[in-house]
């Protein structure tokens, strides 16, 4: 069986490498992606339209904001689905906690907990940095949210789940995930109320003391924050439910 798997892997690798030869050269002006007028428009006008140096963020959060909003909703639904499947409700909820037959209790390790103590604040700050600098460097809501979620997961790994749930309980995480989507959709709705279209951030310049371009810049930060809320909360909720089979106690 292992040999068959190896053969399949190697074969797939060879096939992929073979297919890679047909790729257009790096930075080829004649490749379909570069030749299309859409990418020319983005490359030429992103900076003028939005004042955002990072084109990818502008495309994701502004030009294609609708798509990204529903991507966030997809993450939310994934979280809800996992919680819905794993959470113990009704008569089940009062039953004694299920133990894996091969599970033992292990007290928190002093070395691991001290390392995590030192790291978690720095990691959380790094998450905020990735979130806030999504305009300038690669990053944004999804990445920042994952790093933020990882910081809570680290706490759960080093001590146990209840210690992490003191900081962010699963109920509050679900609420936070919803709030994230509300922030995103709320900014879109607000720009609609100001006379534009849904997610037409430029209209926000009526209430913000900035130009129409800078309004798009700041609104992008706003929706990224919404995305980060959702991703952080869903990451942690999924971890908490999967690692403990939905009983939300004990460690990994």
């Amino acid at each position: 069986m292992k040999k068959i798997a190896l053969a399949v892997t190697v074969l797939t690798g060879i096939l992929l490498l073979y297919a890679a030869q047909d790729f257009p050269a790096w930075g080829d002006l004649q490749s379909p992606a570069s030749a299309s007028p859409v990418s020319k428009h983005f490359i030429a006008d992103t900076g003028v339209d939005t004042e955002v140096p990072n084109m990818v963020t502008a495309v994701l959060a502004d030009y294609r904001g609708f798509d990204t909003m529903f991507e966030t909703v997809v993450i939310f639904i994934a979280g809800i689905a996992i919680i819905g499947i794993l959470r113990r409700t009704g008569a089940d909820a009062d039953a004694p906690a299920l133990k894996r037959e091969n599970e033992i209790a292990a007290e928190p390790d002093l070395i691991v907990t001290n390392t995590v103590r030192l790291l978690v604040p720095v990691i959380q700050l790094f998450a905020f940095y990735v979130l806030a600098h999504g305009h300038v460097s690669p990053g944004g809501g999804f990445q920042g949210g994952v790093i933020m979620g990882a910081s809570f997961i680290l706490v759960a790994l080093a001590w146990d789940l209840p210690k992490a749930m003191d900081r962010l309980s699963v109920d509050r995480a679900v609420m936070l995930a919803g709030v994230g989507i509300l922030i995103y959709a709320g900014i879109g709705l607000f720009s609609m109320l100001l006379g534009g279209e849904f997610l037409d951030y430029a209209e926000l310049s009526h209430v913000l003391p900035v130009s129409r371009e800078m309004a798009r810049y700041h609104a992008m930060l706003g929706v990224e924050i919404g995305v980060a809320f959702t991703v952080t909360a869903v990451m942690f909720a999924i971890y908490a439910n999967l690692s403990t089979r939905g009983r939300l106690e004990g460690g990994l």
Binding site: G27, D109, I111, V112, T115, L119
Partner: protein
């Protein structure tokens, strides 16, 4: 590691990696400054230490001794390579360049803190799971075989 081997190695790849050369032509200047040389020496020493770790990982008799190779060879070689490339990039002593070095130092600190911790965590997990350490006189057949862990 001899320099001409390295050159021929790079030369052999230069056709395939031509696009990389194009991409970096404006950003990496061609001349060698003292800083570049220092950085290259540091990175080379780091690579040599990583060679030690890799060979140790391959040759050592059991899980615990391999852990020694992995846990130690990893930290210093990462430190040296990162600092080496920090020096190579630090051309103009601008604010941005210094901040870059600070960030590289942050990665180094991060690795210095996390590497011994994960080494210890794995070591403890292995020990408490009953992997037998090889001791003097015994051969590696004492180590646990596949499927028992």
């Amino acid at each position: 590691m001899s320099m001409d081997v390295a050159d021929s190695f790079v030369g052999g790849f230069s056709l395939d990696l031509g696009f990389l050369a194009e991409a970096s032509v404006e950003t990496i200047h061609s001349g060698l400054s003292a800083l570049d040389v220092c950085g290259m020496i540091l990175a080379s020493v780091g690579l040599v230490f990583f060679l030690g770790a890799a060979v140790g990982l391959y040759r050592f008799p059991d899980f615990y001794t391999r852990m020694h190779a992995a846990g130690k060879g990893d930290t210093l070689s990462s430190l040296l390579i990162l600092l080496g490339f920090g020096l190579i990039t630090l051309d103009d002593f601008s604010m941005v360049g210094w901040l870059l070095v600070v960030k590289l130092l942050a990665i180094v600190l991060f690795i210095m803190l996390t590497s011994p911790t994960s080494t210890h965590a794995l070591m403890r997990a292995g020990f408490e799971d009953g992997v037998e350490p090889v001791t003097k006189g015994s051969s590696s057949k004492n180590t646990k075989k596949e499927g028992e862990s």
